[in-house]
């Protein structure tokens, strides 16, 4: 039976903040917009973002977009592209007001203006006093933004394909993107969505690591689709880890716990940070604490029966302090561990949180890839925004409050540019059977029957492998071994079989397709990390502890074809202001 086709002006894959902000811009301009989401849109991971959105509104303390830009460039450890960062910091201001007008209930100060709180890494006057730049809707900013954007999209008549899984992009002979093959999860039926422009807004890939704060849905689907369409992934080695996640589960235990006086002990009960950071102790920088924890475990001093975590002690602080000042941590411990942190230590392990790397784009959210005429040729008809994209505004390290900003500004930018693109390209490009074939082959592979390993077993091994070989402890030997193991694991995936071959709500098939994606983004992450022989931002190597601007102030590009690495220069020239030259990143 032929696969049905539906035609839209724009296809958006992913319904978090980036996808929905782009969709709203397009649907409001009366374009026919399809949004494909594997879960109901308001269950996207944006809902979990508690912090807020940075914008130099200067409502609480003096501020300027240029100071915000300085902080972002410095925070990126000078790997961020300064044209994109200038654009983002300038656009932050109208973006927040636009959201306010759309109905996001931002917290207020007494005179009615939007309240702004101070976050780490924010300064006045280019590195001076603390700034207050983060706009929040209480502690549920992501939730408020996602629901507001969803409701506005329903009003603007965006067409939602809820619980549809995108299999792959469809690409013609010339490399233009024509839409995607998608699968309706409920029925198992396939559908081809043809679009003049396609936006990938599928979020991050934290599920590639065993311990992560990311929801189960964060499997790097869009990144892997881009890879399979011949687009490289950029700066994938830069992944943010928080030192203290609940071991074996991933939820974040905020740094506030150590700020209140909590400290880490190993399996022998020793306060081991005294050896690694005698002065700062448990309040040393995130990467130092995280690497010290993993070093203890690697050297056999972990806690628990498998010696695979360390413990965070708060019991000396007293029940009153713990329960009153750390209520969120108290709740997590009670619900997930059945313990009271005022009485028992918490098992912790570094937890994977946020990807700085992703699909390379310019500041209009157009996907760019190396081609005949240079490293940044536009892939016709393809856009990316949000955590799956790499503009790059975060460079080697993201500042708090800049991730919601990224998804909103570049979701909006994608919408704006797609409007122009569709105006200039008013017709759908022809789609041939051969263009669809690769996507069908990918799906059909999971119809093979017979004996084989389970998806769950291979996925568990992948996540452990990534944690052991590309987590917070990185050196040449550890990662070289990881690359070999991951290549072997990729071979194993070929022999995985699905027992359940039913069509209706076959979630096993979806999890198998997600496994394919995780393996691809895992390899991109590991290869990029293995090859970058320096420490910069979140990429911290034991064997190359210094930043090396001469050799490595450049973006990594991993291509799936041959697992090859390429590089391109950082865009150090802003749009209208002077460049910020690299300096030591000291706070």
């Amino acid at each position: 039976m032929p696969i049905p086709h539906r035609k839209f002006d724009a296809l958006i894959i992913g319904a978090g903040g980036a996808g929905l902000n782009a969709a709203l811009r397009l649907a409001s301009a009366d374009l026919r917009v399809a949004v494909v989401s594997k879960v109901f849109p308001t269950r996207s991971h944006t809902v979990a973002a508690q912090g807020g959105v940075n914008a130099a509104l200067a409502n609480v303390l003096p501020d300027d977009w240029h100071w915000h830009m300085f902080d972002t460039v410095k925070g990126s450890d000078y790997l961020g592209d300064q044209d994109a960062i200038e654009y983002m910091c300038r656009e932050a201001i109208p973006t927040v007001y636009e959201l306010e007008h759309a109905g996001v209930p931002f917290s207020r100060i007494d005179d009615g203006r939007i309240y702004q709180r101070a976050f780490g890494g924010q300064s006045q006057n280019f590195g001076g006093d603390q700034a207050a730049r983060t706009c929040a809707a209480a502690d549920r900013t992501g939730h408020a933004i996602l629901h507001t954007l969803y409701q506005q999209n329903v009003r603007a008549r965006t067409h939602f394909f809820d619980e549809y899984f995108a299999i792959d992009l469809i690409r013609d002979e010339e490399g233009a993107i024509l839409g995607a093959l998608v699968l309706e999860i409920e029925t198992g039926e396939t559908l081809i969505i043809e679009a003049k422009a396609t936006l990938l807004a599928t979020g991050g890939h934290g599920q590639v690591f065993r311990t992560t704060t990311n929801a189960f849905i964060n499997t790097g689907d869009g990144m892997a689709m881009a890879l399979r369409a011949g687009v490289p992934l950029m700066d994938m080695e830069f992944y943010q880890f928080h030192p203290t996640g609940v071991a074996g589960k991933g939820m974040l235990i905020t740094e506030g716990a150590r700020g209140e006086g909590g400290y880490l002990i190993n399996g022998d009960g020793e306060r081991f940070m005294e050896r690694y950071a005698p002065r700062a102790l448990d309040l040393a920088s995130r990467d130092v604490v995280a690497r010290s924890m993993v070093t203890e475990i690697r050297e056999g001093r972990g806690a628990g029966p498998d010696k695979d975590h360390v413990m965070l002690r708060l019991d000396h602080l007293g029940a009153d302090v713990v329960h009153r000042r750390l209520p969120g941590i108290t709740d997590i411990c009670r619900v997930f561990l059945g313990i009271d942190p005022a009485e028992q230590p918490i098992p912790v392990f570094p937890t994977a949180h946020y990807a700085m790397g992703g699909i390379p784009t310019d500041r209009y959210a157009r996907v760019v890839a190396p081609a005949r005429h240079g490293p940044e040729e536009i892939v016709p008809g393809l856009y990316a925004a949000g955590e799956c994209a790499c503009v790059s505004v975060h460079g080697a390290n993201r500042l708090g409050g800049n991730s919601l900003l990224d998804i909103l500004v570049f979701g909006r930018a994608a919408g704006t540019d797609i409007l122009d693109y569709v105006a200039e390209n008013p017709n759908h490009r022809p789609m041939r059977e051969a263009d669809i074939e690769p996507a069908l082959t990918r799906l059909g592979r999971w119809d093979r029957t017979g004996e084989g390993e389970s998806v769950a077993a291979v996925k568990a091994d992948l996540r452990k492998l990534m944690e052991d070989h590309c987590g917070v402890f990185r050196d040449d030997a550890t990662m070289a071994e990881g690359v070999e193991k991951l290549k072997a694991l990729r071979e194993r995936v070929e022999h995985v079989r699905l027992k359940d071959q039913s069509r209706t709500f076959n979630t096993a098939r979806i999890e198998a397709l997600e496994l394919d994606n995780l393996v691809d983004v895992g390899m991109a992450t590991l290869m990029s990390a293995y090859h970058r022989q320096e420490s910069r931002g979140a990429h911290s190597r034991v064997d190359y502890p210094e930043r090396d601007d001469e050799q490595w102030m450049k973006h990594s590009l991993y291509a799936r074809d041959g697992d090859s690495m390429d590089y391109k220069p950082v865009r150090t020239k802003p749009l209208t202001v002077e460049s910020f030259p690299p300096k030591a990143r000291v706070y």
Partner: protein, 97 residues
């Protein structure tokens, strides 16, 4: 009385559907809801199962507040169910997700 093949198929289709409904935007909900689906759901009677389906229809943030003990559902049946989901996590095997 044993269930018919059709009834068994219906139950497994419902379980698969619910499994996907337990995929949420927050890790905490993924862990709690999936654990309960695997260990507690089968023991629920029809009314309890209907309550679970009803619970999944609420917004992530609301379910999060209930399950983390930061708010309490006004509905008595949901209140009981929230207690059961929390107990399934607390009493389950250590380290399992």
């Amino acid at each position: 009385m044993y269930p018919t093949d059709a009834a068994t198929a219906e139950i497994s289709a419902q379980a698969a559907r619910l499994r996907w409904q337990c995929r949420r935007g927050m890790l905490e909900l993924d862990l709690l809801l999936n654990r309960f689906l695997e260990t507690g759901f089968a023991a629920l009677d029809d009314a309890g199962r209907a309550d679970f389906v009803r619970l999944l229809g609420y917004q992530d943030q609301i379910i999060h507040d209930w399950l983390m003990g930061q708010a309490v559902p006004a509905d008595a049946a949901l209140r009981q169910l929230v207690g059961q989901i929390r107990a399934a996590m607390r009493d389950g095997p250590a380290g399992a997700c």
